[in-house]
């Protein structure tokens, strides 16, 4: 599973990093999120899905 945060949509709500702190990081200066790695670590797919479901802006993009 691949993951990315759409920078045009992310507004820094931080819910993705709350749901999946190993998959997402937040920029120091504004809290906007990015995926630490493009590839979701094996076994963490559910956390990535939960992050995508929780995002108020629907900015988390998952792909197989």
């Amino acid at each position: 599973m691949k993951v990315r945060v759409d920078g045009g949509l992310c507004q820094g709500h931080t819910l993705c990093a709350m749901a999946a702190p190993d998959i997402f990081a937040l920029r120091d200066e504004d809290g906007h999120a990015y995926a630490v790695n493009e590839e979701v670590p094996a076994g963490k797919e559910d956390l990535a899905r939960e992050a995508a479901r929780s995002c108020p802006e629907q900015a988390v993009v998952l792909a197989h």
Binding site: L9, Q11, G12, H13, T14, L15, A17, M18, L26, R27, D28, E29, D30, G31, E50, R53, S54, C55, P56, E57, Q58
Partner: protein
């Protein structure tokens, strides 16, 4: 198009009509039934109250509209030099003493974006993380003031104080001045113009405004780190804001930082008192539950109930035709209760997943203080759970705002608990100590300048 045709077209556009006064007790008392009804019948409706405005309550509908910065404006054109738009309050605040622009929340890009870029490094998660020892110490002192008595008013003794003092710390203002700001900031939200208390609140608000202006001048003359200093030096889209514009921004930060966090904390503590089993579970399982519980309290209580916008160009969204100049209300509160997105929406589930609530707004105006609010709330809540685990709120003494057209807040929340022992100095002494800590460690610098966490020892 003839006038008749235009009228027919307007009738057709506004075919789903409601008459809902958000500033009436009915809106507060029948909130859940009204939400369900609007979601089922007209998730976007024309509300005939307050001069007429669109009312978006459905989650999907609100989601599709709120993020359309290309067709929405937040502008409050107080001097009538642009298009005459009236900002984010519905009804418009027409009191001449309060006719100032509400900072960057009543601006559009690019100015709005410049302000946020300047202030984000003071308010980001990494920036707030540095402050946690200060917030914890303030909370400790507030609880110590009452811990031996077995009685507390969670609003007056805790939830009003911590956000107020901490907000002043981030602004770079003297912490001891918090009382000048606390009462008028809360009271002006819940005191309507026809209240006998209104003149007193107006007076306090005027004093606060003058005090703020003096503080801005002081910081201009003697720079000290913090949000105000940033505003004084920021270049916003090629200009330097004047003192009136800066005052509007600081008032926005204070208004946004105080009453909302107080409202969230009080409501959550009241709910936990009514659900002692859930309270015990939250305390016990806080490692896994505190985040989801916080988001669930945010969703359920939605401290800032909604925001107004003006349609900036004719457009059609999901079948509704909006016209330039139309007013619009984005009901974050009702969107948060839409069963199409939130199962069992009118109940609190501390472990709710997929909780993509809109309590901090959606789109480019997302609450810039959201990370401050979460951190302050969590610290106050867990301190109460640790030190007053058996508190019981007094139902008779709890006072909710009469109306919740703007903020879903509380004025009083008295409670009793088994007395405990003090852990340290009282509030006044603690504030003096924290002032020294702020000054010596320059805590109010942005995270881009200062990354280290506050140290309270020594």
């Amino acid at each position: 198009m003839s006038i008749d045709e235009a009228q027919t077209s307007d009738e057709e556009r506004k075919k789903h009509r409601i008459s809902l006064d958000r500033h009436s007790p009915r809106y507060r008392l029948e909130f859940e039934r009204l939400s369900d009804e609007l979601h089922a019948k007209c998730p976007v409706a024309w509300n005939e109250t307050h001069g007429g405005y669109w009312f978006a309550s459905g989650n999907k509908e609100l989601f599709d509209i709120a993020r359309r910065a290309d067709v929405l404006s937040n502008d409050n054109d107080v001097n009538g030099t642009r298009r005459g738009y009236r900002g984010i309050s519905i009804p418009h605040v027409s009191n001449p003493e309060r006719r100032t622009r509400g900072g960057f929340l009543e601006m559009d890009p690019p100015e709005q974006r410049h302000y946020r870029q300047a202030l984000n490094p003071y308010l980001s998660p990494a920036a707030v993380e540095r402050w946690k020892p200060v917030i914890e110490e303030l909370t400790r002192a507030c609880l110590d003031e009452v811990i031996e008595t077995g009685r507390i008013d969670f609003v007056d003794d805790l939830a009003n104080i911590v956000p107020a003092v901490f907000t002043l710390a981030m602004l770079g203002m003297p912490l001891k001045d918090w009382e000048v700001y606390c009462e008028p900031t809360h009271a002006s939200v819940y005191t309507p113009p026809d209240s006998p208390d209104y003149p007193r609140v107006q007076e306090l608000s005027m004093r606060m405004g003058m005090h703020m202006m003096r503080t801005i001048h002081d910081i201009r003359a003697n720079p000290r780190p913090g949000l105000i200093n940033e505003l004084l030096n920021a270049e916003i889209n090629g200009y330097r804001p004047d003192d009136t514009e800066i005052l509007g921004v600081v008032m926005l930060l204070i208004g946004g930082g105080f009453d909302t966090t107080t409202a969230l904390t009080a409501h959550s503590l009241e709910w936990l008192s009514e659900h002692p089993g859930e309270r015990e579970r939250l305390s016990r399982e806080r490692e896994t539950l505190l985040n989801s519980a916080t988001e669930e309290f945010l969703r359920f209580f939605t401290p800032a109930q909604g925001d107004g916008r003006t349609i900036s160009q004719d457009c059609e969204i999901n079948g509704t035709r909006f016209k330039e100049g139309d007013r619009l209300w984005l009901s974050w509160a009702m969107a948060n209760r839409d069963e199409k997105v939130f199962e069992d929406p009118h109940h609190i589930h501390l472990d709710r997943t997929g909780n993509r609530h809109s309590s901090f707004g959606l789109g480019i105006h997302r609450c810039i203080g959201s990370n401050v609010a979460r951190a302050t709330f969590k610290i106050m809540l867990t301190a109460v759970l640790d030190r007053m685990p058996d508190y019981v709120c007094d139902k008779e003494g709890a006072v909710h705002y009469d109306t919740t057209g703007v903020i879903n807040g509380m004025k009083k929340l008295p409670a009793t608990f088994t007395p405990g022992r003090r852990l340290g100095a009282g509030l006044e002494e603690t504030i003096e100590k924290l002032q020294r800590v702020c000054d010596e460690q320059r805590l109010a610098e942005p995270v881009t300048v200062r990354k280290a966490r506050a140290r309270l020892d020594g």
